[in-house]
Subunit: 364 residues, 4 copies
């Protein structure tokens, strides 16, 4: 999980795309160079975001494929749905490997990013603990390795605050020594939407930027810098307080806006005793242009652009500590479940002999 | 930590008082029946809130003494300041015991409320682990108990979701059997202010209401029901998303309001490129009545009362899960520090032979 | 896990029986009043030990039924075999409930004994975390309880070193308040045999003696004292150093004895280079009476009785700390697995609607 | 902690020396090429073992300096004595650095060996968590680094069973990239003596052999292979069951031997009711040569050499699982304390501005 700068704020391509759409265009059209496709598998929704060079400029995400697997399985503690998420992850990741021509016996290095001692940041280290690693068996006891397994290694590089070392230096150093054929980085992400926290798995083939993000000192790990494919699997586990507030204000805008438009059928829920919305309605003129109406509803704040509004919120929150990242109170249980979903999906994708039903026989 | 109903929202008397003042009065005057006094000890601020029967009606908190110990020691990882907090806690708690005529050899029962497996809710169980318990030694090896210790017992009743039992039933049952002279309940609290999270210790002598808070089934533990004094020590560790949002909107109001009043010296920070605040100023007329001005700045939302606004926010957040309680990402480290501060303060208050410097020699 | 006195040393009835047989009789006959029956279910061995009043005197265990479920599933990290253990546990426990006339809707209280902060002693608290508790739902939301569940409560009383309270006082106090129809105590046990550590589940219907075992101050929880059936489920997770040593010396005796008898086919493994066992053989005379031979092989130590030998070992180990209880280095993984096996077996036995396959859908 | 072969069995030079003395010589003389010196600092005993090329051959440990810091501070939960241990460690380590000409601003890499998820093997990872790391501050915010700190980095490479990678490959790869001036490896050790478990800190300047120890595939990290000094700090936290047994049998020998020699003042403790030691005494003839007497006391077993005896014990224990490594039941508390002692001693040794009193202000 990066302490990314204010402008980025989301690790998810699908959100970056949505932000662009919200801020820069008035239509629901896709930005140039970004192609989005959605499918679903039962209650699990899958969104493919393909970004080309043009799109990369537009939405500020590297060109490549981003796959989003969404479900409420974690948040609702639904183990059946969690198993379904793992299956979809296994399937999608397998196809991504195939697309990049990764052979069944190509050597994988799983990199578990993040701080194992900070619960919402511990996804990477937890998945490493549950990964089926085999490279040492191939090397030392090849006669004991069954058919259907590939050589897999795993590394937990830690975070710079604990190691004092650029995380990318640790990874580069180890890759140099152990020569994997491809890399999979696992990381807890930050989302800009409360709704996506613990509800989305993002797979990508675009490499990673581990590290503190201070200045331009961090280094990218990608096909360009390593000459091998670098995949990533991430789950947003935190959201910043700025985002929560901003989202809620947006919801307020939309909600009140709709409310007012439906002036003859006031939603019951919005008019509890004591809330005299009748009075408000006199401001709502059908013919008022949209921006004008927003201003009359929300005054100056309603008239602010997206960036202005967030800048403002950030400023008023700063006495409380810059970068107040928050996580749901039930973080311990959520992290346990997410790590299980991601590791069983990943193990099944990497080893032909493993599927999400049999995974638990191989791991602890 | 209770899943208290929307209206309560704060476990802190000082906040309840502030809320009352904000919502119901236009002045900064204390509400009737509530007496507030502030002192400070170095960088630690202490606020005493005395609530009488009248005040209890007014602010919705039981009559009695509430002491708030505030410092940024936890949030800034400042171990010197944390030690200072523990000393102030020891001192204040000792005085509260004296005020209630608790003798030096009176038998204490510490009750560690909350769920030890949910990090932000684990304050109670953590403090029990670090409490200096002695009652068994008094009973079984009295010759080995040094001067300066009192008999202390400690209990971790768990939470109803794990036990299936009303927490108050467990506590009543045990108190009945072990007959303490007084009770101290430790609990993680919910705050309505992001600023107070992990920055305030509240001591009170007004008893507790453990349990799920569903309906009126929970039972109070207090002098009235048990015939022995019931003290509490709590630290807010979570805040709900509604609160964060509402606070931020309030800050926005105040900030923008002030901004606009200072029209000739626009704050630099509020006018980044692209934010044409000059335009705004034309709305600000000195003679506009306050409410009018708020409306022009924030439209309808600006015109809402406190309760209306929160109800609205709550409604728009509900798709994200009712009662989204959040905690800072660094929750693991914060909880460890808070438990140390509270337990060393408490141990020093309870045992004459212990002070916050020597506490670590007795505990692990 | 009790700090039982030297003489008891085992929490397992099957071991107490074996000890009696070894020490007091020369035959392999069952002691009077103790009836043993063995079956097996795949690789899981089940031993039933029925002890009557006479047998209780003989082997020092309370009269009743003791069922031992044995398998190497935990130690060999074999998840299929672990699942099988859970199924056998569910089945045996269900039959024991039926035998005692426990109705399907009788209210259970699970008591998780032991210290959750001491890994090898944490079985009870871990099982409580994974138990399907329902009593609060029956009470507060009866309309949401499906068919096939019984009311279940769970309690983690802690240990006297942390609470300062006799554990039995906590349990008595709570039982008094919540009035269960039967009690199930879960505890980590001490074994006298390294072989049984993490390899045996003991179920019994004879009540429990929680607490520190100092003097006679601890109190029994049983049908006699509570008027309701008290079952127990325990797994040996530690063994004392005295036991390991004593066992090994016994093995040595047996091994060398056999070795010497097979004088014409010396086992290769016992004669590594440098071990001139030829020399030994001159001491072995076929006609030497067994005791005589033992003496010649092992001198004075060989001539000691079981109790004498252990007393001696205990004495020489005492500089290292009395009661040095040890556990395998891999204790963390073992405890996780045991808690899963015990809790899923128990949940399936208690709730008709749950079996060991579906258990994981209900718990975390 | 290595799964070293049977012959090595101890990670402590002082034990290797003792073993050599016991097995190969009849005198208490030092082996050739091994120089031992003892001092003490209050209740903390310090033993210096200097091994030269000749001594290395003799006792099977690499040439260099080994310093043993011994105290019962951990085992007796004595925090004052633990603080004293940390001070001695700081002092000794500082002197060792000076001896090797390590400058105050030389760049250190701390390597925390072992598996953080296996409690008795988690010393390395725990110390890394508590190390004061500064290299990133020197690099990114040099203006914020106070006087009296040196650049320190820290790495937790994990274990091959989790990573699939030779641990030495990870360390070599990272060293290659980050170029430290010296390395300090922290590891949990195996002792051959129950008495030393959790009671001894060994410092050495002889490099390390991380990894699985299977065959000759592991690689040494030392001045020879890296061209920079490689120090180590280790604490024995486990002991194998073979060792416990063997030690106890040795104690038995010595104890009984002494007992018998003192035939006219039989120790009370050795003659409890039922132990007729009078009978034994007839075997004890003052003029019997020592070996003869051992045989008469202990028969064949008494006549076995050290290696023979251990081979025999190992064989009889093997049905219980080869390499049964055990740890005291209270392992969780012990590891917490050891990690605190080692990290505060190390931090004070590395940074001039830190001492063991102020260490806690810098770490969590």
């Amino acid at each position: 999980m990066d302490d990314r700068s204010f402008e980025v704020r989301t690790d998810l391509a699908v959100e970056a795309k949505d932000m662009y759409v919200e801020q820069e265009t008035n239509t629901e059209q896709e930005p140039k160079g970004v192609h989005v496709r959605e499918t679903s598998d039962g209650e699990v929704k899958v969104t493919y975001v393909e970004v080309d060079e043009v799109g990369a400029e537009t939405i500020g995400k590297k060109p490549g494929t981003y796959i989003n697997i969404e479900s409420q399985g974690i948040r609702s503690h639904d183990s059946v749905l969690q198993h379904q998420m793992a299956k979809v992850l296994a399937n999608e990741f397998q196809q991504l490997l195939e697309k990049h021509g990764i052979a069944n016996d190509a050597k994988a290095l799983i990199v578990g990013l993040g701080n194992g001692e900070v619960t919402p940041d511990s996804l990477g280290p937890r998945v490493v603990q549950k990964a089926i690693v085999t490279e040492h068996l191939f090397r030392l006891q090849p006669e004991h390795v069954s058919e259907g397994f590939r050589p897999v290694m795993a590394l937990t590089p830690g975070v710079m605050g604990v190691t004092g070392i650029e995380t990318s230096d640790i990874i580069f150093g180890v890759i140099n020594k152990v020569q994997p054929d491809f890399v999979i980085a696992i990381d807890a992400l930050a989302s800009r939407s409360v709704e996506r926290v613990n509800a989305t798995i993002q797979i990508a083939d675009t490499g990673i930027h581990p590290g503190s993000g201070i200045g331009n000192k961090r280094k990218e790990l990608s096909k360009e810098t390593l000459n091998i494919p670098v995949f990533s699997v991430g789950v947003p586990t935190v959201v910043d307080a700025v985002t929560i507030t901003s989202d809620t204000i947006d919801y307020l805008f939309k909600h009140l806006g709709r409310e007012i438009e439906e002036k003859d059928q006031p939603s019951k829920s919005l008019t509890p005793a004591g809330m005299n919305f009748g009075k408000k309605r006199e401001f709502t003129e059908e013919d008022l242009p949209s921006e004008e109406r927003r201003k009359s509803l929300f005054g100056l704040v309603g008239g602010l652009g997206e960036q202005e509004k967030k800048q403002l919120i950030k400023e008023v929150l700063s006495p409380l500590g810059h970068n107040l990242m928050v996580t749901p109170k039930e973080v311990d249980g959520f992290m346990k479940d997410i790590a299980h979903v991601v590791s069983s999906g990943l193990n099944a994708a990497l080893h032909e002999a493993v599927d999400t039903n049999t995974n638990d026989s191989y791991t602890k």
